[in-house]
Symmetry: C2
Subunit: 149 residues, 2 copies
DNA sequence: CGCTAGGTGCAAATGATTTTCACATCAATG
DNA sequence: CATTGATGTGAAAATCATTTGCACCTAGCG
């Protein structure tokens, strides 16, 4: 419950000019600590009393991703979900399809495997996307609204 | 160069009623032998002289995927790409971002890793998506039109 | 303090996918 | 073989997430 980190994240500098909107978006994004969609973040901001245009949210997240400060995955519905990435390395997550709970997993083996493939194949700039999804213990126990599909 | 497999794939049975359109879509889909988007398949069919409504192509592919006969990945642009899956197991591919060339890779390690994660996490119905992309030797050598993103 | 490149927001444009709905077809039946 | 109710089909309209056009701001420098 310490500082609410309301101060402008210096990450703003990495993506251009420093503006109020960017600070707010960035702060909320970092605070989200997990995967968020642009729309969700936009709603969150509105709810927080610091509304920012949807386009701006999109623009900010896109820039962050381009700058390598955010990872990007796809919702089964096709929505882009962003996750703040503090460091240069990336991680992989196991996401609950019911409640959205997500936890990082040990991806060492994957990295090694991917590197090996890259070597053997002769392909350059090999990148990988790994998404794990399932039903977390809680949801598995209490099938919520059990809305499937 | 034997039979052109123009006969109706019996897979049709798995997704409902057997109609001309489904046979054609399915045949083309199987013949595509790799990832195809609904739109591409639709164009292909038109070019082949067996036009089928775009909606029908979408419906057919979606059903196949639901029935577990097709794998699904996302284009960086957000387009859904389907790949016919003959058996119950799935494979992972390394796709060239320049020319689309794709080759299966040995995914044994991944399967094991994913299974391990599933075990440890307590999550149920754990599924995984793995996408590897890079630039194939040919494209790396001759940077084509070198249009990036 | 004034300037200007870069930002911002809204609304309209895109693009892929889905749905609606009137019409055509399948496949079991009489 | 004709009937018929369930399904499937296609064209166009509807959705949805995301992008873009454009007129209006503003950070940050001189």
């Amino acid at each position: 419950m310490a500082r609410t980190r309301q101060r402008t994240p210096n990450e703003v500098a990495l993506i251009g000019r420093h503006t109020q909107q960017r600070s707010v978006v960035l702060a909320a994004f970092i605070r989200a600590d997990g995967f968020v969609g642009a729309q969700a973040l936009h709603s969150q901001l509105a709810a927080d009393g610091t509304p920012v245009g949807l386009s701006t949210v999109y623009r900010t997240l896109t820039r962050l991703a381009d700058a390598g400060r955010a990872d990007l995955v796809r919702d089964p519905g096709g929505e882009r979900l962003f996750r703040y990435r503090p460091g240069p390395d990336h991680r992989h997550y196991l996401i609950c399809t019911e409640c959205g709970l997500n936890r990082p997993v040990d991806s060492g083996p994957i990295e090694d495997w991917a590197d090996g493939i890259a070597q053997d194949s002769g392909f350059a700039h090999v990148r990988h996307t790994v998404e794990l999804s399932g039903v977390c213990p809680d949801c598995g126990r209490a099938p919520a609204t059990a809305e499937r599909r």
